[in-house]
């Protein structure tokens, strides 16, 4: 890990769980957020727990987006659309084909993975900008398709789908999302700690050099993009069956922008960044009772300032603080 750290990552230390910290300290660090995540909702109102679910939903999307954008250097702008695709595909499987909900979620995940694979196959041979443009066009076209086919999707009226746990009570659903977030974090840690993790970071830092060293650049970009699309599809499908109502507005570009905002706020290219960013952004917005528009204006402004002045984000700030206090070794 330490040896791989490159020029680009100098300002944003990659706080993967395979850092140089002692094993005990590392476990200690994980117990704190896990304990908080499990205990805090018991003291919140139902609405507060719902906000927690939304935050974790964005955290999962953020982690999967960060794998592609942060660690591989490929900008996907369709993660909200993959989530929407997962949700609608699952709804279709359950409502039209009579699948049980869990099988529908699986079908939604596979549908998102497949579309990620196809988009990746078309664009990942070329410069990163092709992926960004094509995924953006895919997302907008998917949204338009949902609105236009209102006989099937019920358009902006919303499509009612069966609930995952048969209840709208947020608390049990919240624990489903805690599990989903933990699973996604473990998956990300496994990928980043493996050889694949080294390969994708090498691709991000210098694609030509990576290719020269014998890395099948296109193959690993496709792999990570497909995996990330699958995770987004899974999150979208589960969220859809929690909310019980799907609408094309879930595929508005604002959703994608919020994922990016959360990741940049927490710390682009850092392991915990997306989780911290999503929880802080969603929590802050709810605590201050900001309207949707005011919230997005402030976040947009904040992200611009952050990119200009301190790209390491909150996690970068925390680990700098930790180093200052002597809790972590200096890089």
């Amino acid at each position: 890990m330490g040896k791989l750290r490159q020029v680009g990552a100098a300002s944003a230390p990659a706080a993967a769980p395979t850092g140089r910290l002692g094993r005990a300290v590392r476990r200690g660090w994980v117990i704190l957020p896990a304990g908080l995540a499990l205990a805090v909702p018991l003291f919140l109102s139902a609405y507060g727990v719902h906000v927690g679910i939304v935050a974790l939903y964005y955290a999962v999307l953020g982690i999967s987006w960060n794998l592609v954008a942060g660690y591989t250097g490929q900008f996907s702008l369709a993660h909200h659309a993959f989530a929407g695709l997962g949700a609608y595909a699952s709804a279709g499987a359950v409502l039209a084909l009579g699948f049980p909900v869990w099988a529908g979620i699986l079908a939604g995940t596979l549908a998102a993975a497949l579309s990620g694979y196809l988009l990746g196959s078309l664009t990942l041979r070329m410069r990163g900008i092709y992926l960004a443009i094509t995924t953006w066009a895919f997302a907008e076209s998917f949204r338009i398709l949902l609105s236009v086919n209102y006989q099937v999707t019920r358009g902006d009226m919303g499509l009612t789908v069966p609930l995952l746990l048969g209840t709208l009570d947020p608390l049990p659903n919240y624990y489903v999302f805690v599990g989903l977030t933990a699973g996604t974090l473990l998956l990300a840690a496994a990928v980043l700690g493996s050889k694949v993790g080294l390969r994708i970071r090498a691709i991000r830092d210098d694609e030509e050099a990576a290719a020269v060293r014998g890395i099948d650049v296109v193959r690993w970009k496709k792999f990570i993009f497909t995996l990330s699309a699958a995770v987004a599809g899974l999150a979208g499908a589960v969220y859809g069956h929690y909310i019980g109502l799907l609408a094309p507005s879930q595929v508005r570009f604002t959703e994608m922008a919020f994922i990016i905002i959360a990741v940049v706020l927490g710390g682009f290219r850092s392991f915990w960044g997306p989780v911290v960013g999503a929880v802080v952004a969603e929590g802050l917005a709810e605590a201050l009772r900001l309207s949707g528009e005011v919230r997005m204006v402030l976040f947009g402004l904040f992200v611009i300032l952050l990119m200009r002045a301190y790209p390491a984000g909150l996690v970068g700030l925390l680990s700098a603080l930790g180093r200052r206090l002597g809790l972590r070794p200096r890089p």
């Binding site: 078309l122 900008i129 443009i133 990016i260 204006v297 947009g300």
Partner: protein, 294 residues
Amino acid sequence: MGQLPQVVAAGLMMGALYALMAVGITFIYSLMKMINWAMGEFYMLGSYAQFVLITLVLGPSLWFLGVPLSMVGVFLLGLAIQKGLLAPMFGPEADRRDEYATIVTIALSVLMQNLATILAGPYQWSPPEYLPLVTAGGISVNGSRLAAAAGALVLLGAFYFLVRRTWLGLAFLGAAQNRVGAEVAGIDVRRLDGLAFGIGVALAAAAGALLAPVFLVYPTNGAVSTVKGFEIIVIGGLGSLTGSVVAAFLLGLVESFGSVFISPAYQDLYGFVFLIAMLFLRPQGIFGERERRV
């Protein structure tokens, strides 16, 4: 087949407006090697500026004066944004420009779109029509669309003149081909970046202003035209101005024929199908050159 001329005319008219968007995106891309994801918001600003100008200040009959005024306003805003936010990415300490430009322009787009909703409300404003229905040679077309297309052609002509016939245009082309080479020849590339960004977003604003009576004025009205602009620049070949113009007219025709012969409901989806087909058959685009790598 009696409607053929009408379908072709409708396609070419939309094509002219798509060309404005696509040329703006390509122009910024060719100088700064970045995609401006906030293009739709500059379109939106252009449409609001035009709406305010022709309803409150100039009156509907002077719509053709409102367009250049809206463009100048957005041009100045573009200059300021480029100087304040985007120029630093070419600084000595900057690495990973793509990433910076993508995140900053997406944040900018969110900022501007929601600010517009706060200031002007989520309502759809409908400016007065520029011209009544025009009938000529058996074809009748919506007057505002015709006026918009005519305006777009005039602006494209002016842009062509600027790029091909002036010293500044030559400097732009030189810097687009080889940044360092242009700098060595004594061209202030950073000033060109600012101008290119300003001109690019002003073209988007012109499309917004011209199309204001057709697609109305509201905070997210730039989205559809922007998606088509992005599709066009890939179809035409990334970085090729000629490619952008040709692909814009092609897309206009594809949409127009598609909505007559297949279904008008899917009009905004033909571009994506066109894009995917193009990526499959000829990924470098119509006028693009196959990418060469070391």
